[in-house]
Symmetry: C2
Subunit: 203 residues, 2 copies
């Protein structure tokens, strides 16, 4: 797939690299994660096996690079979504919903992402956590989120909870998941103001 000699050497190498990642992702989506091998990637990418070894030392490295690229792309999406909303509450809601949709749509590719968390302890995933942590901290300062739990713990909670989106089928179900997850971030009632509402009984 990568045209020979795109222009300069550098851009060419980059193009080949990208093509390799795309190919690997496709193969994983088609034949599963465990059956991915260097020979197959090389053949599908239309390059020699030896050449492939000049780009990546092994399958793990390919998957790691692919995962890194994915996370980076998602981070950009999330950052943009954040910009388009005002206030920590709305921002977080929009960001979480977007993340849930991503988790849902990539539930095929998530297979690899899962793996990665196990292998490399996701140094890439940390960026996501950091991004959410900062957002939640803002909200905690503004008292729209709870402050009795550290922001980074809440961020990890969100990320994990929203991965349940991979197993959901409808868009509405994802919205509900986001709502429930957000409920976990609400400041707790200050003990004494317990839940006793006879005004509107629900189901």
């Amino acid at each position: 797939m990568p045209k020979l000699w795109n222009a300069t050497v550098e851009t060419h190498r980059q193009a080949v690299r990208e093509a390799i990642l795309d190919t690997a992702a496709t193969l994983v989506a088609e034949h599963g994660l465990s059956s991915l091998n260097m020979s197959q990637v090389a053949q599908s990418a239309g390059i020699g096996r030896a050449t492939l070894y000049k780009y990546f030392p092994d399958v793990d490295a390919i998957l790691a690079a692919w995962h890194e690229r994915q996370i980076h792309s998602h981070l950009e999406q999330l950052a943009e979504v954040r910009q388009h909303n005002d206030g920590p509450a709305r921002q977080l809601e929009a960001v979480l919903e977007t993340y849930a949709l991503i988790a849902h749509s990539h539930h095929g590719g998530a297979e690899a992402a899962q793996l990665h968390r196990g292998r490399h302890v996701g140094h890439a995933r940390q960026h996501l956590i950091d991004f959410l942590t900062e957002l939640i901290q803002e909200g905690a300062k503004a008292a729209v989120f709870r402050s009795d739990v550290a922001p980074d713990e809440l961020a990890a909670y969100c990320l994990h909870a929203l991965e349940a989106a991979a197993g959901l089928s409808s868009r509405a179900a994802i919205a509900r998941l986001v709502k429930v997850t957000l409920a976990g971030l609400q400041p707790p009632l200050p003990a004494g103001e317990s839940v006793e509402r006879t005004t509107a009984g629900s189901g």
Copy 2:
């Protein structure tokens, strides 16, 4: 490791099977998931490679069986914990805390569990979901949990959220995670009764 001819053939085969699973789990914990292979398992278990193939067709099957055994064991723990508590609210809290502790302690072996979710779509995991679903449904009927979201969706949410426990370090952090997760299950305030409490500000 499995003593030759424990007594009857059946018990012997069972003992060997268990030994294989134990060996595999140990190897995964030591050398990682991807490097696990039939030859290694056979050698470490002290049985012939051909013999191993008479118990399991491939590495995946071993991991699947191991995972199944794990889940089964966890379910027993959770069921027992539930019995020792009264009322949906306390029961769920105890169950979730136990699950979080399990997720935390098995965060090494979780590597394999993760994999499995990808491979077999965890038919074993469904048992866990079912168990939680039923418990949550009880609570929803009693109006201690929200009923605007289906119990099975809430169950999936809980399971995913609590897996964040694997990345936590302290027992206290796990308790906080459980608290936050449970907060997501609370019945929503019936719109209008929004959060405005000047009584006790939380710094």
